[in-house]
């Protein structure tokens, strides 16, 4: 019955074997970047290149969100002039990128991580402190 490894089946059938936490990388300051070091617990589960590619893309997306560009400057000035009431009807640039990130993580989970018994948790749910990777025990074959 459960031949496909969908996320819903994963969470219901499999027990959590371990959790790996990818910590923040502060070498460039307080910008939101995550360490690209490949954790030893994932060595048997996923290809190092793919993992680093995921983290690097996430880092680039967060850098885009926090970029001090003309767009954020205009947004800041407009907000100041309207006494910050503009945020009641408009979404900030950061929030737009966060939605992009959520979609990217969902897509990565569906395509790459779920078939290997892993699950990426969106860092925003952990206060942008860590990327939590849950390793599930492979039980689905026992059914």
């Amino acid at each position: 019955m459960a031949e496909t490894h969908s996320l819903q089946d994963m969470r219901q059938q499999a027990a959590v074997a371990a959790k790996v936490f990818i910590q923040r990388d502060y070498s460039n300051g307080t910008m939101c970047q995550f360490q690209t070091k490949f954790p030893s617990e994932l060595e048997t589960k996923i290809d190092k290149q793919q993992f680093e590619e995921t983290i690097r893309t996430l880092n680039n997306l967060y850098a885009e969100a926090e970029k001090l560009g003309s767009q954020s400057f205009i947004e800041g000035c407009l907000a100041c002039l309207t006494a910050y009431t503009v945020f009641l009807c408009m979404e900030t640039h950061y929030e737009k990128v966060l939605k992009k990130i959520a979609k990217y993580i969902q897509e990565q989970n569906d395509k790459i991580y779920a078939p290997r018994g892993l699950l990426l948790t969106d860092p925003i749910e952990r206060g942008l402190r860590v990327i939590e990777i849950t390793i599930y025990e492979d039980r689905s074959f026992s059914r």
């Binding site: 947004e75 006494a83 059914r143």
Partner: protein, 353 residues
């Protein structure tokens, strides 16, 4: 089937749908709780989690009261006279400034300053595993620090025992609010909230606009008394006929010094990308000769520093106040916090092994 703790999920139970249909009926009896209702810090929430304030909101009512009363007296007693003798722009400018001040103040007070949510039990356990415990027998282990390199400079990260995580750089734990706040500046009793990454720009615009407002009212009041004393040919009679103006004069005179001083100080902080916390502790100056090489976060350019602090992208709130608590986690949240205490007793080595 009451789920009070994490249990091994029995695959057979999940395929039986009538059982799961009964649980929502039970859950509907208990109203779904939002995350702000179980928030561990000392904060107060309004409008169903949309607005946040420190529990000790200090003198915020006094601040608001002073501003409203002084401005009210200004509009009621000075404006009619000044409109008659000078120009109608005066109440217009005063009105705009007043609205801006109140908006900035309310925004500063009710915005999440950048509170970091506490580490989950799994995260805390993971960090504990990574730290070397040298088997000390004291109840509270020595402060744990981690050294990292930021822009080729060594910065020490401290471990927060309350939030169970290593504090990111520039983050500090506010004891009044019992939260770790990112880019912690200070806890302002006048505003009734911490000032941190997310509301620093509102705080800055509040004190700048308040400086303008107090200076403006002060100038108008002086003009009013001068014109009246010319008309009545005596300052004493002028003062006697407009006592409220004198009240405004006194309030403005005393507040102008502190507010202008504060504005100047914060302008210096913004230009050098420092926080009040760092400045007071002398984190970057005093250890080295030149200040530029001290602070690893500065862009070494005043304009870039100002833009970064005041006009940078608005970071989102990391505490999800209005999200719903999963019904299972509402109870274990209390149990989990009790389970965290044992690691700090001498038996912790046995638990971790």
């Amino acid at each position: 089937m009451k789920n009070c703790e994490y249990q091994q999920i029995d695959p057979r139970a999940l395929s039986v749908s009538p059982l799961s249909a009964q649980n929502p009926a039970e859950k509907k009896v208990q109203r779904p709780r939002r995350k702000w209702e179980a928030f561990p810090g000392k904060n107060r929430f309004f409008c169903d989690g949309r607005l946040i304030l420190a529990r000790q909101n200090g003198v915020l009512p006094l601040t608001l009261g002073l501003i409203v009363v002084t401005s009210g007296l200004f509009f009621a007693f000075d404006c009619p006279f000044l409109v008659e003798h000078l120009t109608v722009c005066i109440p217009v400018i005063g009105g705009v400034l007043f609205l801006f001040v109140v908006a900035s103040l309310l925004r500063t007070s009710f915005t999440d300053p950048g509170i970091l949510p506490r580490a989950t039990a799994d995260e805390a356990a993971d960090i504990e595993r990574q730290i070397d415990t040298s088997g000390s027998s004291t109840y509270r282990p020595p402060p744990r620090t981690k050294e990292i390199l930021i822009n080729q400079q060594v910065v020490k990260l401290k471990y927060c025992f309350t939030c169970k995580m290593f504090r990111p750089p520039r983050t500090s734990h506010c004891s009044l609010c019992d939260n770790c706040v990112e880019r912690f500046d200070h806890h302002c009793p006048w505003v009734g909230n911490c000032v941190g990454k997310r509301n620093y720009r509102y705080f800055y615009s509040f004190i700048i606009s308040l400086s303008f407002l107090t200076s403006f009212i002060f100038a108008c009041v002086i003009t009013h008394i001068t014109l009246r004393s010319q008309a009545k040919k005596g300052i004493v009679q002028a003062v006697q006929s407009s006592l409220c103006t004198v009240v405004e004069l006194v309030i403005c005179f005393f507040s102008i010094w502190s507010i202008l001083g504060l504005s100047g100080f914060h302008t210096y902080l913004v230009a050098s990308n420092l926080t009040t916390n760092e400045d007071i502790k002398g984190s970057w100056s005093g250890k080295r000769g030149a200040e530029e090489s001290g602070n690893p976060y500065t862009y070494s350019n005043i304009i870039t520093n100002c833009c970064a602090t005041l006009c940078g992208p608005m970071p989102p709130s990391l505490i999800d106040r209005r999200g719903f608590l999963p019904p299972d986690e509402a109870i274990p949240a209390a149990a989990a916090s009790e389970m965290e205490l044992p690691p700090f007793t001498p038996k912790s080595d046995a638990n971790m092994v």
